[in-house]
């Protein structure tokens, strides 16, 4: 194929020339104001600004937990407490000879990372509200332990906070120290947000099953985020102790914890600049209205309620100008199946996906009753049948959401039913869903890039520090995702927020995301539902070309025409059993099928 005919149109350039520059602009403005603050603000504002920096160090890390991963961690003040006391006690020499405050701060970071995992661990097992309550419990317990452990922490009397050596011992010197730490935290979290890890976190938040189908291991990723977030919270604690100059358990209230949490939500989920502004806003707000200080938590709570009910997108949505431009209203999806060869490459390790005697009942209902199914590479296998005949259930057995009571699903000698959900992506099994599972607040391109998460080579730490492999991964994923988007015909929408798209477009985005895996097997769950006749025809051509490139396709569908047009082999299910199986021509003339289902 001539490569020059397969050029991919780039995403439309943004307002400020390059998208990277326009994304960095708000940060640059904030950085300039913060760096020049001593020139136009008095000493009192210096204290406020220092406090905002310290709060942001915590909130930046917490933002990955709350804003990106969507975990309702309300009691993060527990980690601030741990960090503040670890730093203070080590620097003051309460238990062992006093050590350098910077060393104490670093140790506090390590202790905080460990505690972050302990506080976060229940998130892997518990539902949302349960987890929220446990973090609240941790916040209460930590304060009580500090009170009781008077020999080390000074109990209710407290301990002096650490004093950092010159030049950080003056007020503005300490401000610049905190500003530097805050800037580094901003940079690191922005790196994560723009990496495959950040996208994976939003996928866990908004589309958990899609994340698993893309091979994202939730436990491992959340652990890394809790480690990082715990460390930044504890470092914020050390700086907080120094800022306070003397700390008692009273300083670490639930109200403070709620402030961090609310700052992030006011800022907007899945954004860095929004929560940053939210933190600054909540720190500064009480200063403008002295009589309101007592009412500050009340006001934060009112703000939170207002945000949740009226503007769930938060500040970030207000600032998102480019997604307010109207989209073309009569846009068409024009897939380019010719690009698939370049995208999918040659599928060398062709093998057969085999279901043998699979049986699954829900209570007394036999959803699948001894089903045999063989899906060959390079073929489209249609699965049809009336509602409740077990089509989607079969798909979910292959994907691992249901464990069959009998029989096995095997690929390359691996028994699928014994694998964790996310391991299937590593065997190059991809799928789409009956209801599209999309991260609405992320761009179309980012949604597609989620599909390629497991093909990145860089580690979490490499992304955190923006090391070369991080850039290589990003470039590779972006290129493949643009190719996949072009193949399904949506490349002109790459930069648009996914929740602005039409239903039919979301179906094609899901296919593009699945193609990112270069799947050996692709499971499509009613991909034609809600599509126009023309779109169904184009979908059919796309699926045929996918199979021509060596991928085995399992197509669950109600549109009989589509099935008979493109399938090599069709299985008809009824009440969880195979009613008929064969070529489309055989099925079309199968008397029972015609009577029961096609209504010939």
């Amino acid at each position: 194929m001539d490569m020059s005919t397969t050029e991919v149109r780039p995403a439309r350039a943004s307002l400020f020339g390059s998208p990277a520059l326009s994304a960095a602009l708000p940060f640059l403005i904030i950085a300039v104001i913060a760096a020049t603050l001593p020139l136009f603000a008095g000493g009192y504002w210096g204290v406020i600004a220092t406090r905002a920096c310290v709060y942001w160090v915590l909130a930046a890390g917490l933002n990955l937990v709350v804003g990106f991963a969507g975990q309702i961690a309300i009691g993060w003040v527990a980690l601030l407490t741990v960090g503040a006391y670890t730093t203070s006690v080590l620097a003051a020499g309460n238990v062992m000879p006093a050590i350098d405050p910077f060393l104490a701060l670093a140790i506090a970071g390590l202790v905080g990372a460990a505690f972050g995992v302990i506080v976060g661990l229940p998130a892997l097992r518990l539902r949302t509200f349960y987890f929220a309550i446990t973090t609240l419990g941790f916040a209460t317990i930590v304060t009580q332990i500090v009170l009781a452990w008077a020999s080390v922490t000074g109990g209710g009397v407290g301990v002096p906070g650490p004093v950092f050596p010159a030049p950080f011992d003056s007020q503005w010197g300490f401000y610049y120290l905190c500003l530097m730490v805050a800037a580094v935290c901003t940079w690191m979290t922005a790196n994560i947000a723009g990496s495959r890890f950040g996208r994976a976190l939003t996928a866990i938040r908004d589309a958990e099953v899609a994340a698993e189908a893309s091979g994202i291991a939730k436990p491992k990723l959340l652990m890394l985020v809790f480690l990082f977030s715990g460390a930044t919270a504890a470092i914020a604690g050390g700086l907080f102790a120094s800022l306070q100059s003397y700390i008692t358990p009273d300083a670490f209230t639930i109200e403070l914890s709620v402030l961090f949490f609310i700052a992030i939500l006011i800022g907007g989920r899945g954004s860095i600049v929004g929560p940053l502004l939210g933190t600054v806003l909540l720190t500064v707000l009480p200063e403008f209205a002295a009589p309101l200080v007592a009412w500050s938590t009340f006001l934060y709570a009112v703000l939170l309620l207002a945000i949740v009910l009226l503007m769930p997108g938060g500040i970030a949505e207000l600032l998102d100008f480019k997604n307010r431009r109207p989209l073309e209203s009569n846009r068409a999806i024009v897939p380019r199946p010719d690009l698939l060869a370049r995208l999918l490459g040659q599928n060398q390790n062709a093998d057969t996906l085999r279901l043998e005697q699979v049986a699954l009942s829900f209570g007394g209902v036999r959803a699948i009753d001894g089903l045999d199914l063989t899906i060959l590479p390079g073929q489209v296998h249609g699965l049809i049948g009336p509602n409740g005949s077990g089509k989607t259930t079969t798909l979910n057995v292959i994907s691992g959401y249901y464990t069959p009571q009998g029989g096995t699903a095997k690929l390359k000698g691996v028994v699928l039913t014994q694998l964790a959900h996310h391991r299937r992506a590593h065997l190059r099994i991809a799928r789409t869903f009956q209801t599209p599972r999309i991260v609405g607040e992320a761009s179309v391109l980012e949604n597609v890039m989620i599909g390629g998460t497991i093909d990145g080579r860089g580690t979490f730490v490499e992304s955190l520090l923006a090391l070369p492999r991080h850039w290589k991964d990003e470039k590779m994923l972006r290129e493949i995702a643009m190719l996949a988007l072009s193949a399904v015909g949506l490349e002109q929408l790459a930069a648009v927020r996914a929740d602005r798209l039409q239903h039919s477009e979301l179906r094609f985005i899901e296919i593009a995301r699945a193609l990112m895996l270069r799947p050996a097997f692709l499971l499509l769950d009613e991909p034609a539902a809600g599509l126009s006749a023309e779109e169904i025809r184009r979908l059919g051509a796309l699926v045929v070309e996918i199979s021509n490139n060596g991928t085995g396709v399992l197509l669950v569908e109600h549109h009989a025409d589509l099935i008979f047009d493109i399938c090599h082999h069709v299985t008809v299910l009824n009440l969880g059993k195979t009613l008929a199986a064969g070529t489309p021509a055989e099925i079309r003339s199968h008397r029972e099928v015609v009577n029961a289902y096609l209504g010939g």
């Binding site: 097992r125 609240l136 317990i141 009340f298």
Partner: protein, 285 residues
Amino acid sequence: MVLSIVLSGLAIGSIYALIGIAYNVMYSASRVFSFTAGTLGMVGGILGSLFILRMGMPIWAGFLLALLGGAVLGVVTEIVAVRPVLKSLDQHLYVLSTLALALIVQQFAAIEWSTEPQPFPRIFPIERNAFDQQFWLPMIACAVTLVGLEILYRRTMLGHAFLAIAEDNYAARALGLPERNLRMASFAIAGTIGALAGFAGGQMLLAFFANAPMLTFYGFVPVALGGMGNNRGAVVAGIVLGLFQQAANFLVGGIFASVAVFTVFILVLLVRPEGLAGTAVGRRV
């Protein structure tokens, strides 16, 4: 000594159980856990003290008005923090909206009432003795509530409608049940039960704004351990929690009692996330 541990354990456990039941009643009607559950208890205590001690009302009037206050807060919770976010239950916005409302009420109480615990009136003018009214009032309140709810749910048409909503929201609506009104009624009942907990336990817990987060946490423990939506389980788990906490209080001191309760809570949940009496629910894909 053992007697006083058992009595105070049963009493405080009954209060936790009542808050747990308030959680359950709201959950059954809406599939929402509300952070306002403990706030309802705090409101019952503060309103009782406000009406009877500060405003000098008769005890029965103060009692009824305190319950009414709880019911109103329950309905407000439904209208302000639950109904608007029910459409997108899977986004868990209710956690945030109910938390915000709970904080609003709690902070308002702290500022307008007091940040210090205030005295709560004695309900019956009888001599103090070992088995004092401060212990048996919460127990009676808990027993009456449990029996009352059982009769409501099993014997009355209204109760059957509540159960239908709890069992299958869509089917109930398709049958023509006024789902929204039933949900508001449930929240009013939950509010009344929560306020009853605070009023009956007022002599133990006093009229104190910080009872809100405390009850929100300790009232949720019986729900989590007893299985959500299961009132009998909540009462058993609540009383076990109360006894365990008071015993630990006496044996190892208050702070480590809280640590012990919390540790047991976390460990049980990590081993059995669906609670000791609950059954696991599959997810829909």
